[in-house]
């Protein structure tokens, strides 16, 4: 992989931070999402800003600053398309499991 070979550490760390960003974004959005009771709105928003910024900073040396922005956007689009489906499957499975 063009960028990953040169900076694998930054790439994987950025991927982790980017995933955290998408997860935080997902749980802030309306609909059937997991809403941790202990996570306040302001803490969630702060985490969102921090993880997003961190992901962009980590990916900038790998892809370049503008490419890092679009990579983060693409990654969030891809995850947001799938996470609600997996969550719905998980909820259905849990509701059908006795006990």
């Amino acid at each position: 992989m063009t960028g990953m070979v040169t900076d694998p550490l930054f790439f994987w760390a950025g991927l982790l931070a980017g995933t955290a960003w998408v997860m935080l974004l997902w749980i802030q959005l309306p609909g059937h999402t997991p809403r941790p009771a202990r996570l306040s709105r302001s803490a969630g928003l702060a985490g969102l800003a921090l993880s997003g910024g961190l992901a962009w900073v980590l990916w900038s040396p790998v892809f370049g600053p503008v490419s890092a922005f679009f990579c983060l956007g693409g990654w969030s689009m891809a995850l947001l398309c799938f996470m609600p489906v997996f969550w719905a499957l998980f909820r259905t499975y849990r509701s059908h499991t006795p006990g």
């Binding site: 960028g3 990654w75 689009m77 609600p84």
Partner: protein, 626 residues
Amino acid sequence: MKPPAARAERILPPRPHSTSALWMRLVMGSILAAFCLLASCWAARHIPFLQPYGATGLSLLVMGGCLTGMIALTLCVGIGNWQKLQHLAIRYRSLHGWIGIMTGSMLSVGFLAGTVTLFATPLQQWSQPHLPAQRNIPLADIPTILDRLTPPGTGQHPAPALHYRLTLTTPGSASLSIPVGPELPLGLPASQILVSQPAPGTIQLYQMIPSPVPNVIGGLHRRMGLPLPENWAMPFVGILCLLYGLALLSGVILLLPGIWRTLMTVRLEGHARRLWLDLHSLLGLCSLPFQLIIALTVALFAFAPLLPPCSGTEAMSPPHAAASSAPLPPITALKQMQNLAPEFQPLTLDYVLGPHGTDSLPERLALHAPLYNANGLRSLPPSDQPYLLIEGTDPHNPLIGRDRGAVLMAPHTGTVLDSQNLPGRQSLARHMLTWCLALHFGSFGGEFVRWLYVILGLCGVGFFHTANKLWLNTHRHKVPGQTAPVDTLATSWLSRLSEGTLLGCLLGLCGLVALSPFTSHLYPITALKDASSHMMEKACQQASLFYYALMLLSLLSYCVLPRRLCRGVVLALAAMFLSAAVLTVTLHHTATQTPVSPELTIAFAIASLCLWGGAFHTLRPRPNRQ
């Protein structure tokens, strides 16, 4: 009870547009959209401060015109009095559905083929036979080998003296090949003469005939599966894209009233219609920026060749007289390139030293290359001017091509003729256009973005499929006493056609992948004159026929057999094709004890396993269900 006056003041929801009113608004919107397009073209040609931007400015303005046209078309349908967002949404509901059912199948074919097109170059390498081992030639030895290939005292220009290609394998070595026919980016691939050096001082020649399959899949992607020549299909594709944009924007308006309640909700249990609606809304809204950029760039690709060409001053440097001296050695050219753009990683060096074709609309039509050209009409130097084309990648910048950027140099002096496609060395306008095209091709961020685009492409296929399913579920008849709605004649046929088209496309693409290893050939030749010009056009036609035969088979089976049986059989056939392709390539490489590219082998193996799983899941007996 409310007083009569209050009741009279109650906001009554407006009725949806009548068919004639809707058509009139659509026609008005279309006229406005066409006006926006023509105005952008006029502005690029006649407004003085835009003229210097040439083809780049025209492309950007056409994209802006398309976006304005889509917005105008959407506004024309919704314009009028409305007090609540729900009232506005009512005006778009039926139109959104009809556009979806009419364009969904073609768009899903375009997205599915586009997902495979992301791997056009790796698929070509994966399909080709084992290449001779001694093809890596030190860059310093290249001039000597070229001299040896040129017969002395003939006075004529032999092929290698006119056009040869160096593909860099390591920083200090390259493989040497000589294209047998003319080539344009993404056009029909030409067969190549490969030069290998089994021992110092000896040369062995091979003719390599590339597979037409990646090219055929690329064509299907661009034409959205339509069996028409590209120049005929493009206006249709452009109109389709404007409607696609209208459907996207109207879809957002339809979602707005309930967006904050159901945004991330997928209800798997309950009515099937609700599930399709949830999935369709989720996929559409989460991938909206991707879908919009695809709609805009495809509209640009489709409309740009129809608009009058723009001649700007951003054309390449004036032609230099062909020098009689030897061309620049590759090592020197690469050093100059390194100084010019340190981050650019060259992949190939094309020395074109004799008369060559020009990059023009008729040439592109003749070579079956995509009609849109970001460089306008001056993509290559005049036909009598030699040039050196260096293509490569840049990990930190977007690439204007599907997987590479390029720079044109004078081969004898190293003077830069055209650097507008060199990543990191572009003007602001060119950089913006490069970004727009890179966001379509996924040509930034390396392999990571390529795989991301596979996911987003498949999400696109899911988005259009769920749109079709939703429309069909909405238009089925509810019969009193029955829990599930019943198919009408129209929904039954549309359901068969939409599913048959999508699965037919899947079957056809898998069939083409299975065909690919059998269409690429390599055989030794004794001299350059022995190279035959392979009928690549015929090979492409045969591969296309194979695809359309499989598509027809799928559609016919959906017309005459039960849907579930068809689904299972088509999935099983697609899985069989893909498994056969993986087995053929793996066995071939095992027999010749050569490494096989693991990336595509693993991807195809996983895809075939998923298809087998889908086929067994569909065909397994279900005693309690119809």
